[in-house]
Symmetry: C2
Subunit: 139 residues, 2 copies
């Protein structure tokens, strides 16, 4: 109930939002200048979106274990080499994997330590979140 003589409406339909709809201008003003520029936001979203595909996750998972060629990856994933190549090309365009030629072979690896850690962090999150699904969530 309010602290004056105003009667507030009943609990809002969205119980996940504040009961009073008023931004904290000081908080907003403090955060606003720190926000990422729009082009960075877009590229970051594109990067995560590219990662958001099971086949590409499986490729990155395999490459997090070893440097592999297209044939190895196609065999591991049980998909065609051309489909594997296509996915690798997409991943390489966003610098998520890199390739190196060695004689007649082309080997793929995760592009850098950021990708290794990015993948590892996502995995840790998923693995730690899983038990919570049947153990009653936090509120």
């Amino acid at each position: 109930m309010p602290n004056s003589s105003v009667t507030l409406p009943a609990a809002p339909p969205d119980a996940d939002a504040c009961e009073v709809s008023q931004a904290n201008e000081a908080a907003v003003a403090a955060v606003r200048p720190q926000l990422l520029p729009a082009p960075v936001v877009v590229t970051l979203a594109e990067t995560f979106k590219l990662l958001g595909d099971p086949t590409r996750v499986r490729i990155l998972d395999a490459l997090s274990k070893a440097e592999l060629c297209v044939c190895d990856l196609a065999s591991l994933l049980d998909v065609s080499e051309s489909a594997t190549s296509h996915q690798l090309r997409l991943l390489r365009n966003l610098r998520l994997v890199r390739s190196r030629r060695a004689g007649r072979m082309v080997y793929y690896a995760l592009d850098d330590e950021h990708i290794t850690r990015l993948f590892a962090q996502g995995l840790e999150h998923v693995e730690e979140s899983a038990p919570r699904q049947d153990g009653g969530g936090r509120s």
Copy 2:
């Protein structure tokens, strides 16, 4: 075709793949048992996919700076509170953000350190990759 006196074909149309199409069975056998189970792959892909949206990236960016309520986020992102709530609900379902009620306010934060680091790693990757786009790629 046999591996004796055979003339190999010319360079393949896909120069990113090996010239000989033959998986290294030892490498494949070593990696296969280490691969993630399918349900984990799917959840990980869903998590990355959810991150792959500019509005949600902006929300996570803002929450990486401060704990904020729906009204604050709506103001920062210049979108409606209901749209903001909707995105927050999606993010919370996959444990990317968490909320806490404090009196009449509901504050949101990144769910845990994994999410903070996941976001930071993605950002570092994007920011370090950017200069390479106009500086000639690695081969």
